[in-house]
């Protein structure tokens, strides 16, 4: 398997305040592989996905590093080319299905827009493709759904539409940014299974951003644990859950409640662990600040 997405030494910081948000992140995702990005809020996990898709907030600047999508260095491209390359090869499954569909357009064009406007497909062909995809995500009545407005669909339905839309252009990479966090557990299970199925069928590489270790264990083959914008540990799922290497990883696992194991005490992440990581980071940042 060749790596479809390769991130090397990616660092980003807030433009004005010179505060670092990502610290030399490196990772690679092979075709057909799901790579989990795990961490607490502020760890920078969804920032990596945004950097890959070129949608970092304007306040953030990438300081150094490479993002190679299908062998091409995205950061070296002209912005317009980069946009088109990303549009053709990558896609996003966003977190909140309630806000991720434009309320004033109906569903159909929101799925076919990329195909028609960016990839230059014929409109009829794009509509056919959308219908196919909606059927693939188990929507019974694709024609009706395509003619509906977002507010007419339930949360679970909208997430299905977004998944279908993400797969529309046969992307080689999908970034899923906490795609099930806003859903009820029972719906979450269906959606996770659906994403897994679709991903396997299309052989897509996937970056799966989540804070939930349970979800990671269900869908990913590999994962990166992040803290303060730094990758602390990379491992396969089996390795990680059997024997987490980093102290912070162990602490995260110990802080996660499990209903099957009510006796074990819940240990909040100890400050000695985070202090250690913070000290490490501080030392690196010192050098970074001096270098500027």
């Amino acid at each position: 398997m060749t790596a479809f997405l390769e991130i090397e030494n990616l660092s980003a910081s807030l433009k004005r305040q010179r505060v670092r948000m990502l610290r030399s992140v490196s990772l690679s995702v092979a075709a057909g592989e799901v790579h989990g990005l795990v961490g607490e809020s502020g760890a920078g996990k969804s920032m990596i996905g945004k950097a890959v898709l070129g949608i970092l907030p304007a306040a953030l600047a990438i300081d150094e590093g490479e993002i190679r999508l299908d062998g091409e260095d995205l950061l070296a491209m002209r912005p317009a080319d980069r946009r088109r390359a990303i549009g053709a090869k990558a896609a996003l499954i966003p977190q909140d299905p309630l806000t991720a569909l434009n309320p004033s357009h109906c569903i159909g064009p929101q799925i076919t827009g990329r195909l028609v406007d960016i990839l230059g497909w014929d409109k009829r062909k794009a509509d056919m493709r959308a219908r196919e995809l909606l059927a693939e995500v188990n929507i019974d009545d694709p024609d009706r759904v395509m003619a509906s407005y977002p507010f007419e669909l339930s949360g679970g339905m909208r997430q299905r539409v977004l998944i279908a839309s993400a797969f529309a252009a046969n992307p080689k990479l999908i970034v899923a940014d906490e795609p099930t966090t806003a859903l009820d557990v029972t719906v979450q299970k269906q959606i996770l299974k659906l994403i897994r199925e679709m991903q396997a069928r299309h052989g897509t590489a996937m970056l799966f951003v989540t804070h939930d270790l349970g979800v990671v264990s269900k869908i990913c083959q590999r994962l990166s644990v992040l803290y303060a914008g730094k990758v602390l540990e990379q491992a396969t799922i089996a390795e990680f859950f059997a024997d987490p290497k980093h102290a912070y990883s162990r602490a995260l696992l110990a802080a996660t409640p499990k209903y099957t194991d009510p006796g074990s005490s819940l240990v909040p992440v100890d400050s000695s662990v985070t202090d250690l990581v913070a000290a490490e980071i501080e030392a690196v940042d010192e050098g970074w600040r001096l270098a500027r």
Binding site: L14, Q17, V19, G42, A228
Partner: protein, 283 residues
């Protein structure tokens, strides 16, 4: 370390200091008008009519900003005009704020029929052009300082009412209001103690804007000769006179206009500046 809010730096506020300084200057001039004004604001001297400002050709250095068609000193009249303008701003602004905000708070927090009645009245008020309404009210009340103030209050309370009502509606949906209910607070007390502090910054911003508007309304009424007496030194009256003699004596229009412009601008910037500086919650 990673807390986003630690990164938002409090905006420096030159506009607060600039606007506050100008308003302080104007206020001092108004308070000590008889001491600082070089002439009598009503004294006419037809031999010294339409003298240009001191630096221009043919000027009399005793009249720094020149004289109007009746030979009255422009600077003196601006300083005395500030008295009237600021009195109107302060009294009308505060009264409008208190009445309008209270009604808005009641409507937005209590909702139900209170809101229905207040909102309908606001709708009715919005059906009238404010300037025409003001002129009409002065025609009913007669000219004079108190009439102007009453007219401003009667017309502009809706401005506070609308904004504060909307803000109170938003705040009422917050859990801290439910929390006050859980604590056993009465509705009225919740309105004052919990919602009040949260709409106060909005009210302050509106209040300073309203003060600027009050100054303008006074000027407009003077302009159509409905303010106090035709003689009294008001900025609007000076502007009205300056408008008619604009080609012969531009200074009669320009100086009061600059002062009025800066004062109105300062009032509106003061509110925003104060909010930036003193509101404990940063957005």
């Amino acid at each position: 370390m990673l807390e986003g809010r630690a990164l938002t730096v409090r905006r420096s506020t030159p506009r607060l200091w600039l606007s506050a300084s100008w308003l302080a200057l104007i206020s001092l001039a108004a308070i000590f008008a008889p001491l600082v004004a070089p002439h009598d604001p009503l004294a006419q001297d037809l031999f010294a009519a339409r003298l240009p400002p001191a630096w221009a050709e043919g000027a009399d250095p005793a009249y720094l900003l020149g004289t109007d068609s009746l030979g009255r000193d422009v600077l003196t009249r601006i300083i005395f005009g500030a008295r009237i303008a600021l009195t109107v701003a302060l009294v009308a602004g505060l009264a409008t704020a208190i009445i309008g905000s209270t009604l808005g708070l009641l409507a937005g927090y209590l909702r139900g029929w209170v809101d229905l009645v207040i909102s309908r009245i606001v709708d009715i008020w919005l059906a009238f052009p404010p300037v025409l309404f003001a002129i009409l009210l002065i025609a009913v009340l007669g000219t004079g300082l108190s009439s102007i103030i009453i007219a401003i209050i009667v017309i502009d309370w809706t401005r506070f009412c609308r904004v504060v009502r909307a803000e109170a509606l938003n705040q009422s949906a917050m859990d801290y209001v439910t929390s006050a209910k859980v604590a056993g607070r009465t509705r009225l007390s919740t309105m004052w103690r919990e919602i009040g502090p949260n709409v106060l910054p909005t009210i302050c911003v509106l209040l300073t804007i309203e003060m600027g508007i009050a100054v303008i309304v006074e000027a407009i009424l003077s302009f159509v000769n409905l303010s106090i007496s035709t003689d009294a030194p008001t900025w609007g009256g000076m502007i009205a006179e300056g408008r008619t003699s604009i080609h012969q004596a531009w200074w009669v229009l320009v100086f009061p206009l600059i002062v009025l412009f800066l004062t109105v601008l300062s009032f509106s910037q003061l509110g925003e500046g104060l909010k930036d500086r003193f509101d404990p919650v940063l957005r």
